[in-house]
Symmetry: C2
């Protein structure tokens, strides 16, 4: 683990990342220190820095630090955390910000391949996402809703929980973005009111466009997800997992999802 | 500063307080190590622990640690932070929680007395509070809305910003709770959908009851605040600050607010 480029494993207890969740993060895969989907990870990270008015670190510096923490691991989960650093007491953003930058890696064997191959079982979460356009899409450190949602089930056979917003439209999974297929068209909820705009989501949108698949953002009700021809969740670690079961609804074939999985593998 | 009872000034970078804002805090005044409003601080802290399903520390232990960090300071700001500690990657609450407990103190001279005596100038914030009943009232570590709201103004003559929720009802200040007086009755917004339930708010409700002042929670529109006979904000550090000006509206006398200030001083 590197803290501002120096080996370490702790941060100041006065850090605003702890005090207020005043910062952001990304979680990504690396192979021998090379981050996957970096184009989209970097794009999202830079956009989130701008949204939070955080100074964005240098791209080459981040890539170097990822290589340093993950270079000796064939396969790793890398986490990047950026905070507004330590400041005086009080919510106001300090005029002089010295951000805190944490880059860490842990060895990781990957998820069981059967999840991508045979699909996953998911559930609906009772925990709703609050509507807050100011913070929507940002992978910030205010994640209590996800903590509560993920704590609704213990059954290891359930891979993910899908979350609705306060208005009852479907947004995402607790740790993934959601897509459905309806009459050959790929649909995913817009993230303009809540939710996290994942790097894999951005990548899937690009892959679909490259493959000539019609794709757009659309607010979806839970019934529309249940009625979908196909559905899948995705994130940077999981890749693309087709939905095999959601409550009583089951899916057995995912022709369009398979094309996207193949395009991603290439 | 004490971290889990030991002198220190840093926490593990893997702490869930940093990763997800998975924890809570209280800020309070202490005189020679004796916390003020402790009855209400402790009540709120214990309630917030229950809401977040965090193990609540022992009350005597906390009081001892406050005395240790603030005992040599005539007047101090004490901050207590409790987090769900370090855990494995992922949002799920760990089965075995070892909470992180941070108790710190800094010397503090108090706010200028004129704020309580002559009243303060406040403004409306553009930043809205999202509606999330699950987290409403809790002084948790997900405070980006407050950070954004407090960053809307730099003018030191403005003491506080008042925040509305997404539905347009008035909730609180960025760092304070709000009361208004209307025809002899004391009103404060309910905190069942968003906002922070402050210890001073609880104390004021009790003081008003003791004084025989009619008091109740009521959803308030901004026009109702502007039309109030009196208005004040309060928190554990400020005490009670009458509103002297909000946008074009000015107040010059605060008879009921003065009674509450006097009761608090006693």
């Amino acid at each position: 683990m590197l803290i501002n480029g120096q080996p370490g494993d702790s941060i100041a207890a006065s850090d605003r990342g702890l005090a207020y969740g005043d910062g952001l993060y990304r979680t990504l895969q690396a192979r021998h220190g090379q981050p996957l989907l970096w184009h989209w990870q970097w794009q999202r990270l830079a956009a989130d820095c701008a949204s939070l008015r955080l100074p964005c670190p240098d791209e080459a510096l981040l890539l170097d630090e990822i290589a340093r923490v993950a270079g000796e691991l064939p396969r790793a989960v890398v986490k990047i955390v950026l905070t507004r650093g330590s400041g005086q007491r009080g919510y106001a953003m300090p005029a002089d910000v010295t951000p805190t930058r944490i880059v860490s890696a842990t060895a990781w064997a990957g998820y069981p391949a059967e999840r991508a191959e045979q699909g996953v079982v998911v559930r609906w979460c009772a925990t709703r996402l609050a509507i807050q356009p100011l913070l929507a899409g940002i992978k910030h450190l205010n994640r209590l809703e996800n903590v509560f949602a993920r704590s609704e089930w213990q059954d290891a056979a359930i891979a993910e929980g899908l979350m609705l917003d306060m208005d009852g439209t479907v947004v995402e999974g607790t740790m993934s973005n959601l897509f459905i297929v309806r009459r050959g068209e790929l649909l995913t909820p817009p993230l303009d009111r809540c939710g996290v705009s994942g790097a894999m989501r951005a990548c899937v949108l690009q892959l679909a466009a490259n493959l000539g698949i019609a794709v757009r953002e659309a607010r979806l009700l839970s019934d529309e997800v249940l009625a979908a021809d196909e559905a899948f969740i995705c994130n940077s670690l999981a890749g693309i997992w087709p939905l095999r079961q959601l409550e009583q609804r089951q899916w057995q074939a995912w022709p369009l999802t398979r094309r996207l999985q193949q395009a991603l593998a290439d």
